[in-house]
């Protein structure tokens, strides 16, 4: 990131190689359209290039920073255009599905571990909880919007989000352990 902030385009290329798949995947899962997801990916890395001098490593990893920007940008588009992709269902990755394509750096190895942990944790939630969490996180729906969409009582939706997040919090409470070998 330091090199990016200094205007090193090759450093941006390295970050793109490392995180573009992740950014694109999140955006595609949220918006359901490849072309739009690719535009969002371009926007995110362009913004990273323009704002690299504001990045504070103490606050968050680069991946966290990128994910936050991706989610916010995609939700902005969903709300501004008042669209929800028709026929598109929000999904969680399966446990065992390929994570990052390589583990050349410490952060990539860390990402792989965290991907495996979060996927395993989400898989332990009841389907009903996974569904409301996906609508809340990936579509940015409020409690009332989810209740309306799923034709559920508002209290039920609030309870499922609350208990789902509490369970995830408990399952993810310990830091990832390095692989053996």
């Amino acid at each position: 990131m330091r090199r990016v902030a200094q205007g090193d385009e090759s450093a941006l290329g390295v970050l793109y190689d490392r995180y573009a798949r992740l950014v694109f995947s999140v955006s595609l899962n949220m918006i359901g359209n490849r072309q739009t997801a690719e535009e969002i990916t371009l926007d995110i890395f362009t913004r990273l290039w323009e704002k690299s001098d504001t990045y504070q490593p103490r606050l968050a990893k680069v991946s966290t920073w990128l994910m936050s920007m991706t989610r916010n940008r995609t939700i902005d588009i969903l709300r501004r255009e008042n669209v929800r992709p028709s026929g598109h269902s929000l999904t969680w990755a399966s446990v065992g599905e390929e994570a990052v394509s390589n583990e050349n750096t410490e952060e990539e190895a860390y990402l792989t571990l965290e991907m495996e942990r979060i996927r395993a944790a989400v898989a332990e939630l009841p389907d009903t909880h996974q569904q409301v969490l996906a609508l809340a996180f990936f579509a940015g729906y409020s409690h009332s919007e989810i209740a309306s969409k799923l034709d559920l009582p508002l209290g039920t939706v609030k309870g499922r989000i609350r208990s789902g997040m509490r369970k995830l919090r408990a399952l993810l409470a310990t830091a990832p352990v390095a692989k053996d070998g």
């Binding site: 205007g7 385009e9 941006l12 290329g13 793109y16 190689d17 573009a20 798949r21 992740l22 694109f24 995947s25 999140v26 595609l28 899962n29 490849r34 997801a37 690719e38 990916t41 371009l42 362009t46 290039w49 323009e50 504001t54 504070q56 103490r58 606050l59 968050a60 994910m67 936050s68 991706t70 989610r71 902005d76 999904t91 969680w92 990755a93 399966s94 599905e97 994570a99 990402l111 965290e114 991907m115 979060i118 996927r119 989400v122 969490l133 809340a136 990936f138 940015g140 729906y141 409020s142 409690h143 609030k158 989000i161 609350r162 789902g164 997040m165 509490r166 995830l168 919090r169 993810l172």
Partner: protein, 268 residues
């Protein structure tokens, strides 16, 4: 919805971390978080979960040509930044053949001939110096001893502009490099009625926090240390409004000073 008890607040923390609460609920939680360290710690756990959720998306690869498109897109940005750096260096470094021993006035004129922010910054520096001299000559307090005075580096200051309500007003936010400390300096604000005060708001797309509630002296000047529930550097826009004495949970009065973010500032 007026108030919530502690349990109700804690029940909403997961949804707050997901960013899906209504504005009223967000405001109530912010007020509570200011004084509740336990809830702030619990919220941090839920925010960590929310940070990991994107990693649970199914993975897909973008078009292989996307990287090339990115490099083409940033090329004009890089060229523009390099052009600005070259222009700046030409203003500062005068060729010997054209200018020998430039006077102070010539140096100042060449510096002011640059981007519009330069004269603005120069005026602000003068205002701040004058304000500080005024404070030093009028305060009865002992200045802090060197070992008590905070000593941390500062970020680039954030300059707030006066609105129609207070067009002559100026505000500058100083945030330390580690984002943990901040100071607001305002000048030129009208002195308010005794039942009113100014309030600083710290904003992101999802959050609005109160950073300070204050009054100004007879000259419309005040320097005040900021307090916020979250690290100061996460906030993107800032505003100061007129509120009832003691402040409000959300802005209710006229806005007097505003910083709308880097994109709007750079679009001038």
């Amino acid at each position: 919805m007026s108030e919530m008890n502690e349990q109700q607040i804690r029940d909403l923390l997961p949804a707050y971390a997901l960013g899906i609460l209504e504005e009223q609920e967000v405001s109530l939680i912010h007020s509570h978080l200011t004084d509740c360290q336990q809830c702030r710690a619990e919220l941090a756990d839920y925010q960590h979960v929310a940070e990991l959720l994107p990693l649970a998306s199914p993975q897909s690869d973008p078009d292989p040509e996307l990287k090339e498109k990115l490099m083409e897109r940033i090329a004009p940005i890089t060229a523009r930044e390099e052009s600005e750096r070259t222009h700046t260096s030409k203003l500062i470094v005068q060729p010997e053949a054209q200018l020998e021993n430039p006077s102070l006035g010539e140096v100042i004129r060449s510096w002011l001939a640059g981007p519009i922010w330069r004269p603005v910054v120069l005026i602000l520096i003068v205002v701040l110096l004058a304000g500080n001299i005024f404070l030093l000559t009028n305060t009865s307090e002992e200045p802090p001893s060197p070992q008590d005075r905070p000593n941390f580096p500062w970020r680039r200051p954030i300059i707030m502009s006066g609105t129609e309500v207070a067009p002559e007003a100026v505000g500058i936010l100083y945030i330390s490099l580690d984002g943990a400390n901040g100071t607001l300096v305002v000048d030129g604000l009208p002195v308010l009625e005794t039942d009113q005060q100014y309030q600083l708001w710290l904003n992101t797309e999802e959050i609005r926090d109160s950073g300070a509630v204050f009054s100004v002296n007879e000259a419309g000047y005040r320097g005040i240390e900021l307090k916020a529930p979250l690290p100061l550097e996460i906030y993107e826009t800032f505003g100061i409004t007129i509120e009832p004495e003691g402040g409000s949970q959300a802005p209710t009065g006229e806005r007097v000073l505003v910083y709308a973010g880097e994109e709007e500032s750079n679009s001038d």
